[in-house]
Structure formats: structure tokens, C-alpha cells
């Protein structure tokens, strides 16, 4: 991320800035609907607008709830919008002032989420242990999940395991925790415990797409773990459980081939590898499968087939390399992929959808792969947030301009009358002017940030292309060497 703190300050300023703008902009009759709008935006996952409407409703005393329940709403929205410090202040107020146990528990829960996401594990621990039984059961599962994740982070896997038992086994929290815990056990060389957990996730029957995908992932982790431990039979068993059309099928097909190869069953290995080799050669697993298939043919004594595959692979790699060369060239213009990053709505997933929409293009493929990395996701999320902010600011800039024109018109009319409304309107005009200036200022700050983000994205993309290019060169080299060696042996064999 470029600068978390700067992002946060910008968000904070936006909220402060846009509150008066919204209150002024809204006609008196509309002020009454602020509160309902809060929920409208909230369910659209548009936290910024939800917050602004909530603050607007608050400023015109239109909040129906009591003070603490409104503080709770504020705190939760701030937390969701990422303004964690402000959220903390509000939620602490609720904890301090509320006499309602459920409200207190909800505030503590939200505060613990804030601390958890900030990585403030000590604070998280303190607040989470003080949450009373008044917390709803579904949130209790999430709380246990967070607690367990904390234990995983500090290396206390036993306690994390204990907490797993407390979470409803049918909940997604249980599955995610079992997966994370299993993977951590495996990393920590405690394979037996890890195996058990990952097997449970891998065999899970929860009929949710998200859970099927998690099961696939668990089986992949397990499969490769068995491969590393030369336990090819087990590897085959778990990898064959992965769905053919799932997101991880490529990795599974590749691994399955290696598992059979480990058992010296090269004919069997060829089945998944050839299946994978037919797919898009831009994918690194496909590239490996091509080379591996030729390797298997050689092992089976089918040299001609191997040679043909080497030649075909070389052509394919050359073609992919050209694509990467072209992408690298295009990336310097910066405009080629920018269309992919232009969200067409305030939807959080707009960018993702845009990328999926263009997934068949070379850029789409590259971005889809990049999205699997944490850093690029963060970068893209920040970029999306900034774009959304800019879009909002521009909209408000237009609104303020409209207000300014209206106000000037009113000024002219009032100038012909003797009325006290002149003073009121003067104040209004000044406020509008100030707001306009502030919006413009924030817009320029956003511009700078956006520029920095774009440069960073540009660099990330270039770096990703270069990485992919290196991969393809490595496969190309390897294939050429393998082919030369095959020919060399064939030549020497006579």
C-alpha cells in the first residue's frame, strides 16, 4: 500500500467535509429521510454515503434511536469504512455509557474487530475477553474465529484448536479456521494434526460455492504436502477430489501428474498433464504441464512424441513470450489497462467484475492472476476507494456549483427587497463558497494520490509481466535444452 495513513486522513476529511455539504444540499423535506438512507447505503455496502447520511440525520436531530444506539451505529460504520480511530472513539463511548448489555456487547465486538484488523492483538485480546454472553450466537462464532486466528498468529496452535471446537461445525467460520489452522500445522511441521483438519475441510459437504472452493484448496494444500513427503498414493487420493472445473483444477492436475510420476506411473501422469496442456498457455501450470508431458513420453520411451511435444511447446512458449513482450511495450503507455481499472459504479466489486468481463484479453488474464496476490489486491482496493472518492467529490463539486448559482440568483432577488433573509443567505453563500474551495482542495490531493497509485500499479504490472516473462524464458530454455539433449542422445545412440 502506498500510504495507509494518508488514505485514512483523506477518508476522515471526506467525512468531515461532506457532512455539512449534504446537510446544506438536502432540502428541508429531504432531511427527514436521512436515516432511512443510511440503511439504504449500508445495504449497498456504500459505507461513506451511509456515514454521511447518518451524520446528517444526527445533525438535524433526526435519529430515532437513543444516543448510545446511534453511537453504536456510527462506530460500526466507521469501522466498516476503515476509519478505525474514529470508530474506536464512538464504540468506547457506547461501552462506557450504555447500560444495555446487548448494546455493550455489540460495541465491544465491533471494537474487537477493529483491533483485529489493525493487528493490535493485545488490545483485541483485552476487549474480546470482556464481551458478555449477550452477544448473538452468530457473532460469537466470528469472535471465536478471530480469537483463534490471534492464537495462530502468536503460535499457540493448541488454544486455537480448542476454540475451533467452540465454533458451530456447520458455519463457514469453522471451515475457514480449520483450513487456516491445518495449513499452519503443516507449515509448523506438525503434519498429522494439519492433515486431519485439512481432510475435514476437503471432505466438507457444505453446499456453498465458497465452501466447495475452500475444500478444493484444502485438498491442493494436502496433496502437495503428501508430494513433498513422497506419499504419492495419498496425494493422488486427495488431488482426485478436487473439482475439474474449479478454480484450482490446474494446480490439482499438475500435482496429480507429479504424484503418478512419483509412483513411476508415467502413463497415468500423462492423463492430467495432457488435459492441462490443452489449456491457455499463458498459465504457468499449463506451461509446466507441456514440459512435464514431454518428459513423461520420454520416460515411456516415446521419443518421437516427446520431440513433437517439445517442438510444439517451444512454439507455444515463443508465442506467449511475444505476448508478454507486447504487454511490456503497451504497459509503457499506461492507457491500455486503465480501462480495466475504471469502475462504472460504487459497487465494491465493480473492478473485479470489470476484470472478469475482460478475462479473455491478455490484460484480463494478467490481472486475474495478479488479483490472487495480497499486495495487488490491496493496491487495487486502495485505487478503487480513491476513484470512488474522486467520483463522489466531483459529483459534490457539481452540486456545490449548482448551489452557488442558486444562491447568487437568490442574492440578486433579495437585493431588491428589504428583508432579514439577506443575512441568512449571505451566510449560506459563504458556506457554499468555503465548501467549494475545500472540495477542490481535496480533489487535488486525491489527484496526487491517484497519480502515485497509478504509477505503483504500473510498476506492479511491469514487474508481473517481467516475472511471467522470466517464467516463460525458463520453460523455453528448459525445453530447448531437453530437446537438444534428446537429439544428442539419439544421435550418439547410433
Amino acid at each position: 500500500m502506498i500510504n495507509n495513513e494518508l488514505m485514512r486522513v483523506i477518508k476522515y476529511l471526506l467525512v468531515l467535509l461532506l457532512l455539512p455539504a449534504n446537510v446544506i444540499a438536502a432540502p428541508a423535506t429531504e432531511k427527514t429521510i436521512n436515516y432511512q438512507e443510511v440503511f439504504f447505503h449500508f445495504y449497498r455496502k456504500d459505507e461513506l454515503n451511509a456515514l454521511i447520511n447518518l451524520a446528517a440525520a444526527d445533525s438535524v436531530k433526526k435519529l430515532p434511536g437513543n444516543r448510545t444506539s446511534n453511537q453504536l451505529l456510527f462506530g460500526s460504520l466507521y469501522a466498516m469504512y476503515g476509519l478505525h480511530e474514529m470508530s474506536e472513539v464512538k464504540l468506547k463511548k457506547v461501552i462506557l455509557n450504555s447500560s444495555n448489555f446487548k448494546q455493550q456487547a455489540l460495541a465491544q465486538f465491533n471494537l474487537s474487530k477493529v483491533y483485529f484488523s489493525e493487528g493490535e492483538l493485545n488490545k483485541f485480546s483485552t476487549i474480546s475477553t470482556s464481551i458478555s454472553d449477550a452477544l448473538p450466537e452468530n457473532l460469537a462464532d466470528e469472535l471465536n474465529y478471530m480469537n483463534a486466528m490471534r492464537f495462530i498468529q502468536i503460535g499457540d496452535l493448541e488454544k486455537a484448536t480448542d476454540l475451533l471446537d467452540l465454533i458451530d461445525a456447520k458455519s463457514t467460520w469453522h471451515q475457514y479456521l480449520a483450513f487456516n489452522l491445518g495449513a499452519t500445522f503443516i507449515k509448523a511441521n506438525k503434519g498429522k494434526q494439519g492433515e486431519k483438519l485439512l481432510q475435514s475441510v476437503g471432505k466438507s459437504k457444505i453446499d456453498l460455492n465458497e465452501m466447495w472452493a475452500l475444500a478444493d484448496k484444502a485438498n491442493i494444500v494436502l496433496g502437495y504436502y503428501y508430494l513433498r513427503n513422497n506419499d504419492a498414493n495419498e496425494a493422488v487420493d486427495v488431488l482426485e477430489m478436487v473439482r475439474l472445473e474449479g478454480p484450482f483444477s490446474n494446480k490439482a492436475l499438475l500435482g496429480l501428474g507429479w504424484a503418478y510420476s512419483q509412483k513411476n506411473q508415467f502413463r497415468n501422469a500423462l492423463v492430467p498433464w495432457l488435459s492441462l496442456a490443452k489449456k491457455d498457455a499463458q498459465n504457468v501450470t499449463v506451461q509446466e504441464a507441456m514440459l512435464a508431458s514431454a518428459f513423461a513420453f520420454r520416460k515411456l520411451g516415446s521419443e518421437q512424441k516427446a520431440l513433437a511435444l517439445y517442438k510444439k511447446s517451444i512454439l507455444s512458449y515463443e508465442s506467449v513470450k511475444q505476448i508478454f513482450d507486447k504487454l511490456l511495450e503497451e504497459s509503457r503507455t499506461m492507457n491500455v489497462y486503465r480501462f480495466l481499472l475504471e469502475p462504472d459504479s460504487y459497487d465494491d466489486y465493480a473492478l473485479t467484475k470489470q476484470i472478469i468481463k475482460n478475462k479473455e484479453t491478455n490484460w484480463g488474464k494478467l490481472l486475474s492472476n495478479l488479483l490472487k496476490t495480497d499486495d495487488f489486491q490491496d493496491l487495487l482496493n486502495d485505487y478503487r476507494d480513491l476513484k470512488q472518492m474522486q467520483s463522489k467529490l466531483e459529483r459534490w463539486q457539481r452540486d456545490i456549483e449548482h448551489m452557488r448559482v442558486t444562491s447568487n440568483d437568490l442574492d440578486r432577488r433579495l437585493a431588491q427587497q428589504k428583508t432579514t433573509r439577506k443575512t441568512n443567505n449571505k451566510h449560506y453563500s459563504e458556506t457554499v463558497l468555503t465548501l467549494g474551495d475545500t472540495v477542490v482542495l481535496q480533489n487535488s490531493r486525491l489527484d496526487i494520490l491517484l497519480g502515485m497509485h497509478e504509477e505503483k500499479i504500473h510498476m506492479e504490472l511491469e514487474s508481473a509481466i517481467n516475472r511471467s516473462r522470466l517464467y516463460i524464458i525458463a520453460y523455453l530454455s528448459q525445453t530447448r535444452f531437453a530437446m537438444a539433449e534428446l537429439l544428442d542422445k539419439a544421435q550418439r545412440g547410433r
Binding site: 502506498i2 500510504n3 495513513e5 494518508l6 474506536e88 463511548k93 462506557l96 474487530k113 483485529f116 475457514y176 453446499d207 460455492n209 465458497e210 472452493a213 475452500l214 488431488l239 482426485e240 477430489m241 478436487v242 473439482r243 475439474l244 472445473e245 474449479g246 478454480p247 484450482f248 492436475l253 496429480l256 502413463r267 497415468n268 500423462l270 492423463v271 488435459s275 520411451g301 516415446s302 521419443e303 518421437q304 512424441k305 509503457r332 466489486y349 473485479t352 476484470i355 472478469i356 490472487k372 495480497d374 489486491q377 496526487i448 510498476m459 511491469e462 524464458i473 523455453l476 530454455s477 528448459q478 530447448r480 535444452f481 537438444a484 534428446l486 544428442d488 539419439a490 544421435q491 547410433r494
Partner: protein
């Protein structure tokens, strides 16, 4: 959480891509399981196919590829075998022996074997002088001479070879060796010619590059630098060099030999430049030539050459000339850096500084140079610009510290720090720059600017070790700014101080200074009336536990912060009219010891006020008992305060209103004792009077009321109070005091007449009770003779009182009259009785004049009785003793005649009373008159009803 979110995103994308709705077939369902693979071999693979394959591999594989060396070795082996095979195939049997000897000599037998070989080769030549393939023998012979150190012989044989076999495949090599030997023998012109021949043969020859190189050196040795340089340049052009993104030579593509050659070439070029006239000479060479891609490398090497030979200024000039020549070359900035370093090395301080400033102007972020560079160069440039900006800002900052008054140093230090910040807005070091900027401003006492910079350092960038110090320094600067002479600055600083303090405690809650900052923040927020926030922070401090705080802090300080937090909480609660809370907080503050006397005074005062206000609120809400207790507590918490006086009074008032007379009396009496000159004295008296009265303490009540009377000038109040006091004395059975007070009243307050008369009447009663008849008589006369100056004074009551006094007087006269006997001598006694009768009649007449019915009937009746008595007295008067019966009878008749008119008069008077019956007046006197009449006129008035016993019993 973050991880989970990311997993979800990945999964959601993946899911959308796969459009999975439910679990699909797994890898177990893979098709084509029954794959058939036939064994087969590759046919017809030629050596060249294999060679080509390896070559193709080497073309694409990076040098660090794991198979690279294997491929290279394999390829070399194959080339050698191919060469050997070729050689063996072409050598005829007659040459086999010599060849074997030569080989053996070379490999096994050393120098002696070479000499054998020379003999063998020479023998071959001698025996076959015209053999077409003697060129190979010449070649081997020359080689053998060379290996035995016989250079001239070798040169001679090689010359024969080139003369006799110009078409030989060994021609080029022979020429090259000729050049080489000539060069060794310092025959540079000959050498140059031989090399030139090789060069003319073209680049097909493997000796082409080496020949150029040697040719150039030969020229150099003859001081022909221009030609030498052109030769060296030519080699660079020939070598398979590639240029990287910065347009510098990437030597990774070169073999080791090529790399060494290239290095030698640059060394030679440097020598040429050095001997040829320095950098100006080099410049002139390039100006005359077509552009060459390696120009940068030349300048770099020449510069380095100068550096290596301690010719620092020349080195710097060399780099400078390149920068001027190619200002947009990607490596220009790097050479400018080298130039700076050269100046540094040579201690050319001013020049180095100027070069640095020049660097930023030419190569800074956003310059035209920057805009023309690719991403890779920009990455390098960023590092360079940062370094130079660091140098510049640190230089001026250091200078400023030595000479603090120098404005230029200050301005420039600021300028360069800002340049860094502007050019690298997201850089990790920018925070530190802001910090140093803050230090600079702070040194110049520009505290607001300093604080702003510190804040940027602290909060605008990622975590760093000075972040905390910066945040604290910002607070420190704002504090200093709050002492500025301009009010607007001070106000601004105060606002900012609050914001900065908030951030500090939010970001660094565990810092040792956080508690102090928080405490100051609380005070600031309080002063700005941001009570909600002040309460949050103050509550936090107040709730802290020193042991749990985890920070080593002096207990006294800790107590002080908690005390001051509680004081603020108290103040805020007070402002919000939550007086109960305010009391609690003030008391907590007091329990933590307030060492500042002034503050202690304020807190005590506020505590008392809070207690008072709390009690007051209870009073408003109608909880008078609690209010009274609350008011009393004010005195307990602040006995010396002014408000406690008010509170005591209010407590008494509350008890008073609750009719808790005893409590009220106790408080008021104590209050009066403690505050003799209180403004409430009058009210206290009023209240005490009532309370005493209600408690039955009439004497005390009377005393209070007399005090009221004495303290006011208002006639009516004094009058009424005196009256009331008299009454209370009366009730208290203090008759003497009552009489005294009534007397005082009737003398002092003649108006209203009726009340004055009533007072007199009271005196009458009291004297009656005390048996002071004479004094009573005085007051009866006083009432009876009361002067009526206005008709309005004649009310029913006054009439009654006067009449009752008068009747009492009349009765007395009646008594005297009744007691007067008619004795002999009758004339005298009759005269006396008549006189007394007259007085009595006048007295009763005066009663009737008043017109009070009750006394009118009485006086009428009495008048009747006077007359009746007089008649009866005449009839009962003493008879003269010497009268005869007749005389006595006549005397009686005479007396009867005398008495009869009185009896008639009496009847007449009684009848007046009887006549009042028709006006519904019937009292004891009317009844008495009727009785009298029934006696005097029994026929008319002596009628009695029979009373039914039954009715009587029923009553």
C-alpha cells in the same frame, strides 16, 4: 481478517469465472484414462541438428540457467571432435610421424621436443619444397619457433608462408602472428601493416577483432592517438555488446575473453585521451564523429582513469563534459553523481555544492530529463535525487547550526527539505525530512510551522522510530506557539494543540508521556468547552491503575494527573448541572491531594457550589427533605465558604417549609449565632417567629416578633408585630409581659381605634386574671370614656367594648346605689340615694347610647330595676318609731304615693325591653324584665306554659 477477506475475493473471482453452482466432476472423473503410448526412437539425427539445438538453447537461456554450462561443454566437445576428425581425415601418412612427434612434444616432452619438431618440419620442407600443403608445415614450424623463443625465425617462416601461400587457410593467422611478433619486437610500423592486412581480410577471419585491437595499439605506440582511438572504437562496435535500459553496456552477454578485451580497450582509450590532450581532446573527437552508443562508457572509463591516477579535477571535468554533451542520456545523472563524488574526494567543497544544486535542477523529479526517462532509469534516479537532496539539506542544516543567524542557510535548508518532500511524497524518508524541517523551524522559533512539520512526520507516513518523538515535538511546538504575542496565533495554536494531543494519545497510548499529554488535552478540551471529548479522556485518566498502566511514572505525577482529570470532570459535570457527579469528582480530586493552593481553593469553592446546586435542584424537584440535608452537607464540605452561609439558610428554609420546626429553629438559631450581621436576619426572625409559634414556644416567638417590630419603620408592621407579641406572651402565660406589651401597643398604636380598644380590653382581662382590680378599674374607665372622634370608629366591636366597660362602671354605680339605704333622717338618705340613682341612671344611659343590643337590654333592665328598687326602698325605708298606727298607715300611704310613680316608671322601662321581643330581641335581660313585670303586673305577664315531661325527658 484481512487474510480472510482476501481469500473471499479470490474465491469469489474464481467462482464467477467457473460459474460453479454446485459440486462438479472431480479429477477422478478425468477422461482419456486408457491412453496408449507407443515406444519409438528418433531417426536421422545429424550432428549439425544437435549442434544447432544446443546453439538455440544457448541463444535463449540466461547464463545462470542450470543447464547452461552442461550445454556449453557439450558443444565445445563436439566442436573439438569435429575439428580433430577433419584434421585426421586430411592428413596423409607422410605427415603422420611429424605430427605425432609435434603432438608428443607439445604435450609431453617440453622444449626439447619442440626443437625435434622444428627439425622434423624443416625436414618435411626440405624433402617436399613444392608441396601444396606446405603452408600447414610453415605454420607449425613458425609455431614451434615461437614456442622455443626464436621470434625472428618464427617471423621469417611466417613471412615465407604469407608470400608463398596467399590463399592458405593459415594466411590470416600467419599475418596476425607476424604483427604480433613485430609488436613484441617493438617494430610497430611493421606490426601495424601486418595487422592491417588481417583487418582487410574482413570479419570472416577469427583474427579480425584481435587484429584491430593490436593495430590500434600499434598506432598508439607510434603516438598516433586519433587513429588508435578509431581502432579501439571499432572493436567496441564489433563486439556483441548489448545496451541495457540505461543505455550502458551490459557485459553479461559477453564471454570472459570478450569482457577482458573490452576492459583493455577502455583502458587503452583512457590512455589515448590522457596522452592526447585530456577531456577537451576527447570532446573534439566525438564532435567530429558520428554518434556512438558507447560514448557514455568512454567518458565513464576516462573519468575513472583520472580518478585512479588522482587527477580528480580532470575526472570531474570529464564527467561534466559528458553531462553537457548528452544532457538527456539515461546515465547523465549518474555521471553528474560521479562528478560530485570526485569533487568531494578532491575536497572541492564549493564546486561539489554547486554540482549538487546543479544536479537537482537538471535531474530532479519532474524535470525534462525525468520526463524522458523510462521506469527503470527513474528508479535509479529517484535514489540519486534522494541522496543529493539529503546532502544539500543536511549541509545547510549543519551550517545553520554553526551559524544560527545566517538567513541564507536557513532558507536553503528549508528549501531543500521541502524539495525532498515534494519530490518524494510517499517516501519512507519524507517523515524524517518533515521532522528535520520541524527542528529547523523550531530553532528559528517559528513554532506553528515547526509543529505542522512535526505532525506530518508523525502521522502522514508509515511507522518509523522518530514518529513518536515527532508527535511529541509537535505538541511541544504548539505549546510554545500558545505564548505568541498575537492573539490569533495563540488561538490557532490552542486548537491545533488539542488536535495534536488527541492524535498523540490515540496513536501512542503506551508512551510514557501519553498520560501527561492526555492530562493537558483534557484541560484544553475543557477550556474549549468540548465537554464530550474532555469527559472521555478525563475518565480514561481517572480510571487508570498505576500498576496496569505499564509505564514507569512517578506516583506524585500520576496522582496529579488523576487529580486534575477529576477536577475537570467535576467542572464539566458542574457546567452540565449534574451536581451530584460534580461533587463526587471534586471529592475524588481532593482525596488525591491538591497541592496548588489556588486550585484547592477553587475546588473547595466548586465542591460547595455543586453541593449547594444539587440541594437546590432537589428543592426544585420538591424533595425538600433531601434538599435540606443537601444544604447542610454544603457546610460539612466547605464550612468556611460563603455559599455554606446561604446553604444553611436554605436548609433552614427547607425544614421550615416542611414544617420541621425543631430542625429549622436549631439551624436558624445557630446561623444567627455564627452570622450576627447576616443579610437574612430579618427573614430569620420571621421564620423563627413562626417556628417558635408552631412549636408552642410563644415567649420566644413574641421576642422575635418584637424584634421584627423594632427593626422596621413601617407602622403597620410594627403595630401588628407588637400585637402578635402581646398575644404570644399571653399564650405563653407570661401575663406581665403580655400586659406590658399590650400597654405599649395601646399607647403607641392608637390606630386602628378598634384594635387599640381591643388591646385595652386585653389589659382588662389580664389584670382581672392577676387580680389587680384597681389597675383594671383604671382601664375600664379608660375604655368607657374612650373618645370617639369619628363615626367610623364606632364599629360593632368598639361599641361592644365601650358598652361592656360602661356597663361595668354602671353596674358599680348601681351597686353603690343599691347599697344606699333609706334611713332616717330620710331626707338626707333619700337625697344621697337619689344622687346615687341619678349617677347610675346616667351611667346606664351612657351604655344605652352606645346602642349595643346586649348592653341596651341590660341597661334598660337595670334602669327598670333602679326605679323598681327606688320604689321598693321607699316602701322599705325606716319608719319613724313614734308614729301611731294611723300615722303609720298614713305615712305608708304617703310613702306608697311616693313609691308608686317609681314602680310605674319601672314597669314602663321593663316594657321597653319587652317591646324589643317583637324585633326578635330576646335575651336574659328581656327575660329578666319580663320576670319583673310578671311580678309587678302578674295578670298581664305572669303566664307560664306547662312543659310536657315527656318532651323534657326527650331533651
Amino acid at each position: 481478517m484481512k487474510i480472510l477477506f482476501k481469500i473471499i475475493i479470490v474465491l469469489s473471482i474464481a467462482m464467477q469465472i467457473s460459474c460453479a453452482v454446485n459440486r462438479m466432476p472431480t479429477l477422478k472423473n478425468l477422461s482419456d484414462r486408457d491412453l496408449v503410448v507407443d515406444k519409438n526412437k528418433i531417426e536421422k539425427v545429424s550432428e549439425s541438428d544437435v549442434l544447432q539445438s544446443y546453439h538455440e538453447y544457448l541463444e535463449v537461456a540466461p547464463a545462470n540457467h542450470p543447464m547452461y554450462k552442461n550445454a556449453l561443454n557439450r558443444l565445445a566437445d563436439m566442436e573439438m571432435v569435429a575439428g580433430d576428425n577433419k584434421l585426421l581425415a586430411e592428413t596423409e601418412s607422410q605427415y603422420q610421424q611429424a605430427l605425432q612427434v609435434a603432438s608428443a612434444t607439445t604435450q609431453d616432452q617440453g622444449q626439447k621436443n619442440y626443437e625435434n619438431a622444428i627439425n622434423l618440419y624443416q625436414g618435411l620442407l626440405d624433402s617436399n619444397p613444392d608441396d601444396a600443403r606446405n603452408d600447414w608445415v610453415f605454420y607449425q614450424l613458425a609455431s614451434a619457433y615461437e614456442k622455443t623463443g626464436q621470434l625472428e625465425e618464427s617471423l621469417r617462416v611466417l613471412s615465407l608462408l604469407v608470400e608463398q601461400y596467399p590463399k592458405s587457410e593459415y594466411y590470416a593467422e600467419a599475418q596476425f602472428r607476424r604483427g604480433d611478433i613485430n609488436f613484441t619486437l617493438k617494430e610497430f610500423l611493421q606490426a601495424e601493416k601486418a595487422f592491417f592486412v588481417v583487418i582487410r581480410l574482413g570479419n570472416a577471419s577469427v583474427y579480425y577483432e584481435k587484429a584491430i585491437y593490436k593495430y590500434a595499439w600499434s598506432k598508439f605506440k607510434q603516438d598516433l592517438y586519433n587513429e588508435a582511438l578509431m581502432g579501439f572504437f571499432q572493436i567496441i562496435k564489433i563486439l556483441p555488446v548489448v545496451y541495457d535500459l540505461q543505455e550502458k553496456i551490459d557485459t553479461r552477454a559477453l564471454s570472459k575473453i570478450e569482457k577482458d578485451l573490452l576492459e583493455d580497450v577502455f583502458r587503452a582509450i583512457s590512455l589515448c585521451v590522457s596522452y592526447g590532450g585530456g577531456v577537451d581532446y576527447l570532446n573534439s573527437i566525438f564532435q567530429k564523429s558520428a554518434p556512438m552508443p558507447f560514448e557514455f562508457e568512454v567518458f565513464r572509463h576516462v573519468g575513472q582513469y583520472y580518478i585512479d591516477h588522482d587527477r580528480i579535477k580532470d575526472a570531474a571535468d570529464t564527467y561534466g563534459v559528458f553531462v553537457q554533451r548528452q544532457p538527456y542520456h539515461p546515465m547523465s545523472s549518474s555521471l553528474q553523481i560521479r562528478r560530485i563524488r570526485a569533487y568531494d574526494q578532491g575536497r572541492f567543497g564549493r564546486a561539489a555544492l554547486s554540482a549538487r544544486e546543479d544536479f537537482i535542477k537538471k535531474f530532479g523529479i519532474g524535470t525534462s530529463f525525468w520526463l524522458k526517462q523510462n521506469t527503470s532509469t527513474r528508479a535509479i534516479l529517484r535514489i540519486q535525487v534522494k541522496s543529493v537532496l539529503n546532502d544539500l539539506s543536511e549541509f545547510y542544516h549543519a551550517r545553520l547550526q554553526r551559524n544560527r543567524r545566517n538567513k541564507e542557510y536557513f532558507t536553503k535548508a528549508i528549501f531543500w527539505y521541502k524539495q525532498y518532500i515534494v519530490m518524494f511524497p510517499g517516501d519512507v524518508e519524507v517523515g524524517r525530512k518533515h521532522f528535520l524541517l520541524g527542528e529547523l523551524y523550531s530553532e528559528k522559533k517559528q513554532y506553528l510551522n515547526a509543529a505542522k512539520a512535526y505532525e506530518s512526520a508523525a502521522f502522514d507516513y508509515e511507522y518509523s522510530d522518530y514518529q513518536k518523538e515527532a508527535a511529541y515535538a509537535a505538541i511541544d511546538s504548539y505549546i510554545k506557539a500558545t505564548k505568541h504575542r498575537k492573539k490569533s496565533v495563540r488561538k490557532n495554536a490552542k486548537n491545533k494543540l488539542i488536535q495534536a494531543s488527541r492524535k498523540f494519545v490515540d496513536f501512542f497510548p503506551g508512551d510514557t508521556r501519553a498520560l501527561a499529554v492526555r492530562a493537558r488535552l483534557v484541560e484544553g478540551l475543557f477550556r474549549q468547552k468540548q465537554y464530550d471529548d474532555a469527559v472521555i479522556y478525563a475518565n480514561f485518566i481517572a480510571a487508570l491503575n498505576k500498576e496496569e498502566l505499564g509505564v514507569d511514572i512517578n506516583f506524585r505525577k500520576f496522582s496529579y494527573y488523576q487529580m486534575s482529570a477529576n477536577v475537570v470532570l467535576g467542572h464539566i459535570a458542574f457546567e452540565r448541572e449534574d451536581y451530584l457527579l460534580a461533587q463526587g469528582k471534586y471529592q475524588q480530586a481532593l482525596s488525591l491531594k491538591i497541592r496548588n493552593r489556588k486550585l484547592l481553593g477553587v475546588v473547595n469553592k466548586r465542591l460547595a457550589a455543586a453541593s449547594y446546586k444539587y440541594a437546590e435542584s432537589l428543592q426544585k424537584n420538591g424533595d425538600l427533605l433531601a434538599a435540606a440535608e443537601g444544604f447542610l452537607r454544603v457546610n460539612a464540605v466547605a464550612p468556611q465558604s460563603k455559599i455554606s452561609i446561604q446553604a444553611q439558610y436554605d436548609a433552614a428554609t427547607a425544614y421550615f417549609n416542611l414544617q420541621k420546626w425543631q430542625q429549622s429553629i436549631e439551624i436558624l438559631e445557630r446561623f444567627r449565632l455564627q452570622n450576627p450581621n447576616s443579610k437574612y436576619e430579618e427573614k430569620i426572625t420571621d421564620k423563627l417567629a413562626v417556628a417558635y409559634e408552631k412549636s408552642g414556644l410563644y415567649a420566644k416567638a413574641a421576642r422575635e416578633i418584637l424584634m421584627i417590630a423594632s427593626s422596621t419603620k413601617k407602622y403597620s408592621v410594627r403595630r401588628d408585630a407588637t400585637w402578635k407579641a402581646a398575644e404570644f406572651y399571653e399564650k405563653a402565660n407570661r401575663r406581665k409581659l403580655a400586659i406590658k406589651t399590650y400597654k405599649h401597643y395601646v399607647r403607641k398604636y392608637t390606630k386602628p381605634f378598634e384594635l387599640m380598644l381591643e388591646g385595652k380590653h386585653k389589659i382588662l382581662g389580664l389584670y382581672a386574671e392577676t387580680g389587680q382590680q384597681k389597675k383594671r378599674d383604671y382601664w375600664i374607665k379608660n375604655i368607657a370614656t374612650a373618645k370617639i372622634s369619628k363615626k367610623t370608629q364606632l364599629t360593632d366591636r368598639t361599641k361592644y367594648l365601650i358598652a361592656s366597660a360602661r356597663i361595668e362602671l354602671a353596674d358599680k354605680k348601681m351597686s353603690l346605689y343599691s347599697k344606699a339605704k333609706l334611713a332616717l333622717p330620710l331626707k338626707r338618705s333619700l337625697k344621697k340615694k337619689r344622687r346615687l340613682m341619678k349617677r347610675a341612671l346616667i351611667a346606664y344611659e351612657s351604655v344605652s347610647q352606645i346602642g349595643v343590643e346586649e348592653f341596651t337590654t341590660a341597661s334598660t333592665h337595670r334602669v327598670g330595676e333602679i326605679y323598681q328598687q327606688f320604689g321598693e326602698s321607699i316602701m322599705r325605708s325606716e319608719r319613724p318609731s313614734r308614729l301611731t298606727v294611723d300615722e303609720r298607715e298614713e305615712y305608708d300611704l304617703l310613702l306608697e304615693e311616693q313609691a308608686f310613680p317609681f314602680e310605674e316608671k319601672a314597669i314602663e322601662i321593663y316594657e321597653v325591653n319587652i317591646a324589643r321581643i317583637k324585633n326578635s330581641i330576646y335575651d336574659q335581660w328581656v327575660k329578666g324584665s319580663m320576670n319583673k313585670l310578671s311580678f309587678l303586673q302578674p295578670v298581664r305577664y305572669g303566664k307560664k306554659e306547662l312543659i310536657d315531661e315527656m318532651y323534657s325527658s326527650l331533651d
